[in-house]
């Protein structure tokens, strides 16, 4: 032990520092909580960036003893949420502060840069940010933020445009007004789960399986229980006999309930074997190391092909049950079940057959596909393969739970607080009124926090021990015990006439769900339901089959199944265009849907039930195509920088949904406070995307009051009303729709109350700035504050409130087109994305600056999936690149040289103020656009992502 002295933000501290104590741990203990950890000290993500003697360093990669005597600067030195510095404010204004887990680090670095270079170049910005991993908003808007900050520091005003503005008649909607929770996030103030943990908590650690497939023959925890401080150890022998699934979906779920909290059979490397709760993490780890487990190791399988094979080992071989729609012959089917495998319980038939490793299956068609192929002049069939991709949220999965007033309270980083409550209730076997889930700010989810991956275990551990319990995934656990993108094999058969008219399409999707069936029906269905409706083709057919295997778990990931389906369908269409000698752009224009086209294909594409057939509503697809083609100069050949560099262009039509019509549900309520300000409670879960800002704008717009007169409370199951959660691009449309309706209801009630108080007719009253009711007939005014005061006086009629509930059968589909220009090196296989233009119709972008950030972030994410990212398992099922450096996420160095996002202005007829969704759709374009561009450049079709240099060299025949 040695004592060191350090000066942090001009304040001197003396601290004890053992040899291996990191600078970050010291800083956090001293209260500098903005210094966060995303990589367990890998020195990659940069959430732990601080300045030491005016030089940026990773605090988690620095020993405290290394900085004895040093001057340290953290983001707390910049400004508070109530008094941001110019850089912090510009970051909020520009839209880069989204999930924001390392936004304070970015603010620190950029402030430091601007102090040295008041007008930095793009290259300098790029350099300084090169040690930060930004997953949510991409990097492009950081240049805007720096420009804005530079302008502000020089002249006290912004000269540059932040983002385009929409709907001139509206004041808040369609305008860049900053994110309401942005200041707290960029300042690094308490906002995340880890900030809520109180002293005295117990630590939970998990013993994980070293085997991909094995029965636990015996587990001996006797020595582990003797370790001082150990409170409990949960194993398959003492956990509740409750089968459930971790997908936070609609209820009943279209996913099989195929797991317990812990199972006798482990099905992937990293599967839970035991959970240890102890007073300290060190004690829990010591106990974990003393647990003796004897395994009966089974042969693992990792691919769809292995799972499909005759006689393949069964991943689930337990009893099958149905809660409804039980098929005939189930007793016979269950005769050779192995009780060690537990159960698989279907809420309703998903056409699974676990004895053949099939978790679910579906099929459907419109028209006569065989006739369509017969009518075609050319028919091709191609198979495309996608790999397993990690969501990599900067804040890992984390949960803190405690007992308060006899109830279980969970602080969670989740996209689905109400599903967390339901599923934890099942596991703990307690009713929902005994549980409160508080969704904190979410430091990145991207789908993986739609799944209840840690809250089930933490909630149960807390409930049985009565102790406050804290758990946080390590980064390795994020890779091996988390939700990932399903690997898929998608075969597309497509026929067309010589003029490019497509006569028939058939998609066959084989998905690999891994050990458990989270989203096993809906993700592969989505590969069809979010792609086939792009085409105005009369004959279409699809089949999806999802297989169990022993890869790391899969689940929801932004875009869901659509990125895979889009990659296959669009690339196949380009291949067909090439075969018949038609320009691919012309073929797209000829076969795309347009407003009014009846989407018959949707009938077979419901999520476990019949889908709703609706016509195409608002649609910016054609404008996206036309403008994108102009921007990229489609058809104009570009020469490479040298003979070995070849340049090509590609694009893809894309679509997604705006939530799930007939399944999703948003609720909100709002009240007028006694001083004339407002509070709105939304069930929606803001995961960094700006949903709370959307919610606030619904009130601001309706009542003509600025955003700071509106407080949003969201994601708290006690105070907020039910919402299905932030997934399937539902936030703005469903939760926002509910807030819109709550605001309208509140407006009606407020006007009604005002009419009584003012002795006027409601029809003569309107609302206006700065927050008052105005009579167009008499000119009388009544401030909201006076109105509320009167209503709340002893003789008043009570608090003015409003509620809103939003459901719809309407499909407000966002459309778009992504264009890419790539340079391919024929000697090295290297691909450079020179240009990437993402054009999308989001209806009315309520927060245009955040919408652009969503678009940039999702597009860059999909570029990463296309070119770099891939979880690689060895022959035993161990992920050999379970860290950032080995895995390969795109950083600022990988941002396309010319990267543009364009919001196509189309007003939707149903969404709040004409809004549709924005972010998920943007993950669908890169893979096909880049694959097609690579073909245009060097003449090879890339039918397996990621398109690594090695694969390109193989296609080029440079290596065998």
């Amino acid at each position: 032990m040695s004592t060191i002295t350090l000066t942090v933000n001009n304040k001197r501290h003396r601290v004890e520092a053992v040899g291996n104590r990191t600078l970050r741990s010291v800083l956090v203990e001293l209260g500098y909580r903005s210094v966060r950890d995303s990589d367990d000290g890998e020195g990659f993500v940069g959430s732990d960036t601080v300045l030491v003697n005016d030089v940026p360093v990773y605090a988690n990669l620095t020993l405290a003893v290394q900085v004895d005597g040093a001057e340290i600067r953290t983001a707390e030195s910049l400004g508070t949420s109530r008094n941001l510095n110019a850089v912090q404010q510009a970051m909020v204004d520009s839209g880069v502060v989204q999930s924001a887990y390392n936004a304070p680090a970015a603010a620190l670095l950029l402030t430091w840069l601007l102090e040295k270079h008041p007008e930095p170049t793009r290259e300098q910005v790029r350099e300084v940010l090169s040690g930060l991993f930004i997953r949510d908003s991409g990097y492009e808007q950081f240049y805007t933020a720096v420009q804005l900050a530079s302008e502000w520091m020089k002249s006290g005003a912004y000269q540059s445009e932040i983002a385009p503005s929409f709907r001139d008649h509206l004041t808040y909607v369609g305008k860049a007004k900053g994110k309401v929770d942005g200041p707290v996030l960029v300042a690094g103030e308490p906002a995340f789960v880890e900030d809520r943990v109180l002293p005295g908590y117990y630590s939970l650690v998990v013993l994980r399986s070293p085997h991909a497939h094995a029965y636990i023959k015996s587990i001996d925890i006797s020595e582990a229980l003797k370790v001082e401080g150990v409170e409990t150890i949960i194993t398959h022998e003492n956990c509740p006999d409750v089968y459930y699934m971790q997908a936070g979906q609609s209820n009943p779920e279209p996913s099989p309930h195929d797991r317990r909290l812990l199972n006798q059979k482990v099905r992937h490397v990293g599967d839970r074997v035991a959970a240890i709760v102890a007073e300290t993490e060190a004690q829990a780890i010591e106990a974990r190391d003393k647990i003796k487990v004897e395994y009966e190791v089974l042969k693992p399988i990792f691919t769809v092909e292995e799972a499909m094979a005759d006689g393949a080992v069964r991943i689930h071989n337990g009893i099958v049950e149905y809660r409804s729609g039980e098929p005939a012959g189930l007793d016979e089917y269950n005769k050779d079940a192995d009780p060690r495998d537990g159960k698989v319980v279907y809420m309703f038939p998903l056409h699974g057959d676990i004895r053949r490793n099939i978790a679910s299956a579906a099929r459907g068609q419109i028209g006569d596909v065989e006739k369509g192929f017969a009518d075609a002049d050319t028919v091709i069939e191609r198979t495309y393969q996608t790999t397993q991709i990690q969501c990599t949220p900067l804040e890992p999965h984390i949960c803190y739970a405690r007992i308060e007033g006899g109830r279980l309270v969970l602080n969670a980083s989740t996209q689905v607080p109400f599903h967390v409550r339901r599923i934890v209730g099942w596991v703990c076997e307690i009713p929902e009124n005994k549980i409160r889930v508080i969704k904190e700010r979410v430091g990145g989810g991207y789908g993986s926090k739609q799944d209840v991956l840690v809250e089930d275990l933490v909630g149960y551990a807390t409930w049985i021990t009565g102790k406050p319990v804290f758990y946080r995934n390590t980064r390795e656990e994020e890779f091996i015990a988390n939700s990932t993108r399903h690997p898929m094999r998608v075969t597309v058969k497509m026929g067309a006439k010589k003029d490019g008219t497509i006569t028939a399409v058939e998609m066959d999707v084989r998905a690999n769900t891994g050990p458990y069936g989270n989203h096993c029906l809906t993700v592969p269905m989505n590969a069809c339901s979010k792609t086939l409706p792009l085409l105005a083709v009369d004959n279409m057919k699809f089949q999806v089959i999802t297989y169990y295997s022993n890869i790391a778990p899969t689940g929801a990931y932004q875009g869901y199944g659509a990125p895979k389906g889009s990659y296959a369908l669009m690339t196949c269409m380009a291949e067909l265009a090439n075969e018949i000698g038609v320009d691919y752009y012309q073929m797209a224009m000829k076969n795309k849907v347009e407003t009014g086209y009846m989407l018959e294909i949707l009938r077979g594409l419901g999520e476990g039930r019949e889908g709703n057939v609706v016509p195409v509503g608002s649609c910016g697809l054609e404008e996206s195509l036309v403008r994108g083609a102009e921007m990229i100069e489609w058809g104009k050949k570009v020469e490479g920088a040298s003979g070995e560099w070849k340049v090509g262009k590609g694009f893809a039509m894309i679509q997604q949904g705006s939530g799930l019509p007939g399944l999703d549900h948003g609720n909100a309520w709002a009240k007028l406070l006694s001083d004339g300000t407002f509070q709105i409670f939304s069930g929606g879960a803001d995961i960094g995307t700006g949903l709370d800002t959307v919610t606030a704008k619904m009130i601001s717009e309706a009542f003509c009051v600025p955003l700071d007169r509106v407080t949003v409370t969201s994601g708290d199951t006690d105070s907020c009303t039910f919402d299905t959660g932030a997934f399937a691009s539902s936030g703005t449309y469903f939760a926002g729709g509910a807030s819109f309706k709550a605001a309208e209801d509140l407006r009606r009630n407020l006007l009604s109350e005002a009419a009584l108080q003012m002795e006027e007719e409601v029809d003569d009253l309107s609302l206006r700035e700065p927050g008052e009711v105005y009579s167009t007939k008499t000119g009388k005014t009544l401030s909201y504050a006076d109105l509320s005061h009167t209503a709340l006086s002893g003789t008043g009629r009570g608090q003015v409130m409003g509620t809103g509930s939003f459901t719809t059968l309407h499909n407000s589909i966002p459309y778009g087109a992504h264009f890419a220009q790539v340079a391919v090196n024929t000697r090295t296989g290297q691909v450079k994305v020179q240009k990437f233009y993402a054009l999308q119709d989001a209806g009315t972008p309520i927060n245009p600056e955040l919408a652009l950030g969503q678009l940039y972030g999702a597009a860059l994410k999909s570029i990463g999936h296309t070119l770099y990212e891939n979880m690689i398992l060895d022959g035993e099922g161990r992920c050999v690149n379970a860290n950032f450096t080995g895995y390969g996420v795109p950083m600022i160095s990988e941002v396309p040289e010319d990267f543009k996002s364009v919001l196509i202005d189309v007003n939707d007829e149903v969404g709040p103020y004409g809004a549709k969704s924005i972010s998920e759709i943007a993950t669908n374009g890169a893979a096909p656009a880049i694959a097609i561009a690579i073909f245009d450049a060097v003449g090879v079709w890339m039918r397996s992502w990621p398109f690594t240099p090695e694969k390109i060299l193989r296609e080029l025949g440079k290596i065998q």
Partner: protein
């Protein structure tokens, strides 16, 4: 993981601390020692900070670069040749470049080293310090090739500085990875001098191949110097045959050999065009 961090008061003190502490390592920037999944297994770190090893000095015939000079300082210095700045940029993170040092990166001699191939190709000289059991302090100038050959035996030797000769010599390197900060499949370097009558001499060919370590291809070097190999294609073929590589998550054996050979071929071609720089 380091359990104890010892701060030396001077170089001799550092050497004594090293000699007296089993399982100790030199602690430069700490980016590998402290890193999650780092390859250094040691209990005691001997800190090199504050020993004056962070200077870059023009000493006439050589540029002297202290072992504790950070990769970013290399890039920022007007004294450092471009080929070494290029290699410094292979570390894609600006923040990490401020922490990692030239000495630390060279001493690791890892299969994904940013600098080792280029430094080996440069024929630089290393200034090292030792202390005997009796306490006698000595400094030596060691050719980098010798350090490479015996670097494990140099574990107790303290690397003080790198001396870059100002000879008219070509040095170039290439790094191949999926993305800038992804683990590299191959980092290769080529160095040579072009004499009168286009005689090629002092050739160095080095490749850090993931999974197979840093390799110097002396047979290929000799064949180029003797004129046996004179075209880019011939050199590429010889390199691909000489390299050791294995299949792993970064790439197949075949890919690594191909891409490393391609890189060295490019550098050789560039050398033939430009002669020296």
């Amino acid at each position: 993981m380091i359990q104890e961090y010892l701060v030396a008061s001077n170089i001799a003190d550092a050497l004594t601390l090293k000699r007296n502490n089993a399982r100790s390592v030199w602690f430069a920037g700490g980016t590998e020692i402290n890193r999650m999944g780092g390859t250094v297994d040691a209990k005691v770190g001997i800190a090199l900070k504050g020993l004056g090893l962070d200077q870059i000095v023009d000493e006439g015939p050589v540029i002297r670069i202290g072992a504790m000079v950070s990769l970013q300082a290399l890039i920022d210095s007007p004294l450092v040749p471009q080929w070494l700045k290029d290699a410094g940029h292979y570390c894609g993170s600006y923040t990490r470049r401020h922490m990692a040092t030239i000495g630390g990166n060279l001493a690791l001699m890892s299969d994904h080293s940013f600098l080792a191939p280029a430094l080996l190709a440069s024929r630089c000289t290393l200034v090292t310090a030792n202390v005997t059991e009796g306490g006698a302090y000595s400094e030596d100038e060691v050719p980098v090739r010798e350090y490479y050959t015996y670097y494990k035996q140099h574990a107790t030797t303290l690397l003080l500085a790198i001396l870059l000769p100002k000879d008219k010599r070509y040095v170039g390197s290439r790094r191949y990875a999926l993305s800038v900060q992804n683990r590299s499949a191959a980092t290769v370097a080529f160095g040579a001098m072009m004499g009168e009558a286009l005689v090629i001499s002092h050739v160095r060919i080095v490749a850090a191949i993931h999974g197979s370590g840093v390799q110097r291809l002396t047979d290929v070097e000799n064949a180029i110097e003797s004129g046996e190999l004179s075209s880019r294609e011939d050199v590429q073929l010889a390199v691909s045959q000489a390299l050791e590589a294995v299949d792993d998550f970064v790439g197949s054996r075949e890919y690594k050999r191909y891409i490393a050979a391609e890189g060295i071929g490019q550098l050789f071609g560039e050398f033939l065009k430009g002669g020296a720089r």
